[in-house]
Structures are given as structure tokens and as C-alpha cells.
Symmetry: C2
Amino acid sequence: MKIKCAIVGYGNIGKSIEKLVVKDEDFDLVGIFSRREPSTLKSPYQTVFYYQNMLLDDRFCGIDVVFLCVGSAFDLQETAFKVATRFSSVDSFDTHAKMGSYVRDLDAIAKMSGTLAIVGCGWDPGIFSLQRALFDAIMPEVKPQTFWGKGVSQGHSEAIRRIEGVKYATQYTVPKDDAVKRARHGETCFDARDKHERICYVVPDYQAYYGDSEVSEEQKEKLQKIIRDKIVNMPDYFSEYDTAVHFVDEAEYFENHTKMSHAGKVIAVEKQNPKDDSAKSIAEFSLELDSNPDFTAQVMVAYARANYRLQSQGETGAKTILDVPITALLKSDDNLKYI
Amino acid sequence: MKIKCAIVGYGNIGKSIEKLVVKDEDFDLVGIFSRREPSTLKSPYQTVFYYQNMLLDDRFCGIDVVFLCVGSAFDLQETAFKVATRFSSVDSFDTHAKMGSYVRDLDAIAKMSGTLAIVGCGWDPGIFSLQRALFDAIMPEVKPQTFWGKGVSQGHSEAIRRIEGVKYATQYTVPKDDAVKRARHGETCFDARDKHERICYVVPDYQAYYGDSEVSEEQKEKLQKIIRDKIVNMPDYFSEYDTAVHFVDEAEYFENHTKMSHAGKVIAVEKQNPKDDSAKSIAEFSLELDSNPDFTAQVMVAYARANYRLQSQGETGAKTILDVPITALLKSDDNLKYI
């Protein structure tokens, strides 16, 4: 098998995917596509084209799977709908609250176009979704609890960066220790605020915002207030959490807040008796990641392999990670070695 | 959906399955089938029939899924092959080394008969197999490490019980702490003996073995030696491990060795650089089970639901847990809630 693939969006995840597919003999990277001016982007491995070319240029009609790596919150849905009219794709769409309508709309387009989109192929949504569903299937009376962090959420950082007047931003998701302990004893009644806090480090772009190289302290404070309000009230991303926003200068930002590590766990505790503390079964899945985008890229590459396999079986439409059997992900056909 | 099901084998797992299906509105328990004389077995919920009746009596031709709960090591394969000629099934076959030939032979029979068998639906083989394959798909350069215990292995205990002269037996699998630590630092070169020891508590049946109520100390020692040799040299089960065999009397056995708890973990560590100690990604899945047969039964019931769904999609043959998408296991159709 040789899977002709393309990367749309050349940020962290796009670059991580590129590194993986160029060294994987199953993949042939046809091109990298971006909305940005290609000459401003340099790839060590492949030509960067304008995104529009992928959809219009017949040279690219043989692409088997497109890796959609554009910023999730705002651009991904629109790009996915357009790409699905011609190509199969994998993405790591990560807005839990919008997943339902996204999958329904994409499914209709992909089915009509005879393409296959596998959505939410990261670790959460993604591998964690798989674990939650598995735990629920086996322990139906249990409500699996998910904790994220401490780590940088790319989706949330990106959402802040899209606010006017923000130059750089990093958002740390931090689990509350007490809640993790309670979850391991089988407690399941938490609201979003009980389990995590969100800590944001933001570098404002005062000059660009005010169109002036001279910006007063008062103007700075005003912009900070505007940004803070937009962050803490942002639905789906921040409004349901305790969110702290710190403004820092560029030097401090690059010194301390550019690592992309992350972590998380899914805990399911089945009790013998709901009233006592003794557990009947405890299942726990955890990840600790030095590089969130690298790991997300690894998941996307595995599901791209599955996408290619399922296409060859005639599958079309939009699927989530729950719809894909693990066999479809594997490089080798010797599945029995895992049993 | 109302899944007509039957239980073959009325030991620990069979009884655990019975408790689950009678309270699950999706299942209708048609009967319990055993090789033992039905009048010696009492079910609080359903009639116990001779196993042969299931295959011969037209009353039972509407069974959708058979839970195969007979002792794995010796009887399960033969039973599965016969059942597959008429019925679809799930089992928790657990001899890793024989899985390949079992799946191939069962696949041929089931395909010819238009039935669907899902094999190895426990936690290992089973949920752990799923995690190993998933880790390998996402982190292809990593060799996931599995640890079992401390806990009772039903398969190994049963294997001991089948030895002539054994009345009761319990086998504890115990992971070696040092090996777990090394695995969490990314070490992957272990042989079976490095990772676990096997500790067996056995009550011999001297009177039955010698056919005499008067048994000398010498005769006792002789039988103990025979049993010990058969255990430690048993291929697949014990021969590759450090195995300790302790002989105890009935009172001590029932006091201390009849719990059925178990535990285990699968660890996958991806390194930045194979030569240093720093991990790039760590994935870990763990289970702690108060009752191994109860949890195994829960897995089998989930895969019985999947079996029924996949049958309705025209699937036949023998499948492992890797071939079944998680969606097929779920009670609800609202899969997006897990994403």
C-alpha cells in the first residue's frame, strides 16, 4: 500500500505529520497546502502550495487522504466541508460541543461525494473518547471521569490567539488534585469548574491594535481588559471554568510558555455498593505527552491508514474514532500478535 | 432489540453472565446448558439443560448469541467448533499461544455455517489486546509491556485443577515491581520470567487418587511431587515462569485462597532518544478488579451486543476484539456523547 496524502495547514500539527509521513514507507506526501502565501512557508521535504490549488488543480486529483491541520475553532469545519467534496480526510476537530452538528453535516457531504472523513482523531477527542465509550460499554452503571493536564491545550491557546489584539497566547489546563482523588473513589458528580482550572498567558499586540507605536499605560490596561473579558466569556472554551489570565511580555512568554506538553486521564470506578467506598472495578487510562502536536499527529497518521483501508472496503461518510475497528489502524496484518 | 441468548458452562463466568443478562432488558436468557447432570445445578433464573439439547432440540434454534463459559484450556475449542455450526457465540478463550489456530479453524466453520464468533472477549486476551494494538498503531516504534496481577488467573487455576489428584487450586500471578519500574522508563527487553512469578496453592485429593481412605505420608509426598512436576512443566501456562507450588489443606484453602480479584496494566513508553531516560510519550492502561469473573462477564456481554449488531449487518466468521468497532458495543445509539 502507498497512500497518497496531503497536508492542509502548516502549523504545529501539520509539521509533525510531515515528519511522520516522510519517513513512513506506506505514505507518499503529494504536497502541503496553506492559505498563507506559499513563499513564506518553508518545508524541508515538499512544495507548499496555495490551499485553493488542491481543490482546483488536476495534478492533485489522486490524493487518497488529506490531513486537515488548520486551526480547529474557526476554520476547520469550513475547510473540511470543502475538502470532502473531492477528498477523504482525517482531522483532530476538538470542540466537543459542536461535534454533533459537524459530523452530521460532514457525513451528508462526504456520502454525496463518495469520500470518507474520520473526525476527532487526536487524544481528546480521540483516544480518550474511545476509552470513555469502552468503559461505558463494559461498566454501564459507571460515569467515566476525564481529567486534562497539566498541559497546554492547543485548541484553547488558538482560540485566544484569534482574539483581536492578541499576539501570542498559551493556555494551561490544570486538573484539581482533590477532584482526581475523589474520582478514584468513585465520585462522579462534578461540574466543569470542580475538576479543572484554565490558566492563560497572553502577549497583547498593543501597537497593531491601536495602529500607533506610542501606546499609553491606560490604553494597555484597556486592551488587557477587553482581551480578558473576551477570554473568560468565550462559550465552549472558557465560560464554564475558573479562568486566570496573565499578561506577559514577549521575552517572558518565549522563555516560559512555549512548551507543548500535555497529560490526562480517564477514570472509571464501578462500586459494589453505591453508598460505601469500596470499588468493585477500577479502570484507568492515562497519557503523559512531551509534545501534544506530535502525539496528535501520530493518532492522525494511524487513522489515515484506517481511512485508506476503509475506503477500499467502500466506506463513505463521516465517521468518528468509535466507528473504526482497531485492526484498520495497524501497519501489519498480523493482528494476532496483540491478542 | 431483544437478544435471545444462552449460557454454556455454569461455572464462575457463566453465573456472572446470568446475573447480568437477567437484569438487562436487551437480553432474553433462553437457557443454561451444561455437560453436568442438570438436576445437580440450580439456577435462580432459568432452567438448566444438558448441553447436547442446545444443538439437537428445535426449541433452541432461535438463539442469537451463545456465551461460551466452559473451561478454556481443554474444552472450549471443541465446544466452540460444535456451537459455531448452528449458533453465533462469544467466548473468553485465553491461551495466547493457541489463539492463531483457534481463530483460523473457527473462522472456517463459522463462515461455512453463516454464524459469527467473537473470541477472546475478556480483559486479557480482550481489553488489554485492544490497548496493545492501539498503542502500537499510534506509537509504532514502541513495544507495549503488559503486567498481570497480583491476582488469581482463572485459566491457570483451572489448568491445575484438571491435573489428576488435584481437588482445589488457586494460582496467583504476581508482577515483579522492579520490572514495572523499568517498563515505565521505557525498557522493553524482558523475558516472561523477568516480569512475573506464578504462585500456586493446591489441595490434593489423596483419597480419590489412591482409591483408599488410608494414605501414608510417603504416598502424600509422592502425589505432591507428581502434581508439582505437572504444574511447573505445563507448556503455555507455567513452563516459562518461576512457579512456586504450595500444598495446603482444605480449611486453609477456603480461608485464604478463594477470592477472585485480579489486576494488570499495559505500559507503552515512547522515547525521544533511545539512549537516554527521558520519555516523549507515556501511555498506561490499568485495571483493578475485585472479581475477575464478574468483569470478564461484563466484557462478554458487551461483545454479545456487538455480535448481534454485526450479525444484522451480515457479518460471519471468527473475529477478535480488534475487529469490532467500539460503536457496536454501546447500549445507546448516541455515540457522540463519548466524543
